[in-house]
Symmetry: C2
Subunit: 123 residues, 2 copies
């Protein structure tokens, strides 16, 4: 399995602009990262570089609670923990792809409308 692309989530696509969200701020990115197979904690931190460990843990726990991912601790030294999508979690992949598709197709129109609005009102 290939390593995750560090630039998988380009800063040029800030989530603040994206009008669609799955779960909390980082959930969709995590799920996308797990598409190819199980990943380790540190491995996830590479493409999702702006997330702090605390928040990543938080989000992973929430996803586990909702049955989206499993958390497997391997009794080794050093410790190794792997996260993997459940069948339920996999059902979100289609939805995420639908959101991506919408963004690719309509984000420019949205941003253009926003620009017009911001320029036709008092700056």
């Amino acid at each position: 399995m290939d390593p995750l692309d560090p630039d998988m989530f380009h800063p040029g696509c800030p989530s603040s602009v994206m009008p669609i969200r799955i779960g909390d701020k980082w959930s969709a990115m995590i799920i996308a990262c797990l598409e190819q197979g199980p990943r380790r904690f540190s491995e996830l931190r590479v493409p999702i570089h702006r997330v702090t460990p605390k928040v990543l843990t938080q989000t992973l726990r929430a996803l586990e609670r909702d049955g989206m991912i499993t958390r497997t601790v391997h009794a080794e030294v050093p410790p190794r923990v792997e996260y993997e999508l459940t069948p339920l979690g996999r059902t979100l992949l289609d939805l995420i792809e639908a959101c991506r598709h919408w963004s690719r197709k309509h984000m420019p129109t949205l941003l253009a409308a926003r620009d017009v609005y911001d320029h036709t009102t008092q700056p």
Copy 2:
């Protein structure tokens, strides 16, 4: 055109549980309400009964800014303002339907997983 169903958004489906969001908290509901045609401010407040006027205005403005809806003021007494979906806004209907479909199909599984998780950890 039929009036909006006051129970269109049943309290039994709290948005806190729904893992998918379009825009901010009320955006998707507003867009769904506008599907059949233009609606007035007060008209929107019927099915979306938990929203305060301030927040509704806020959300409508944001949707207008992003080119999702148009706001038309009719010079009458009493004042009449109508909100209507733009073609761009209409593109979100499919996405919303996809989210609804996901919910109908998978929410029970999610809630069941959550129950198990909450009961297998210390209460």
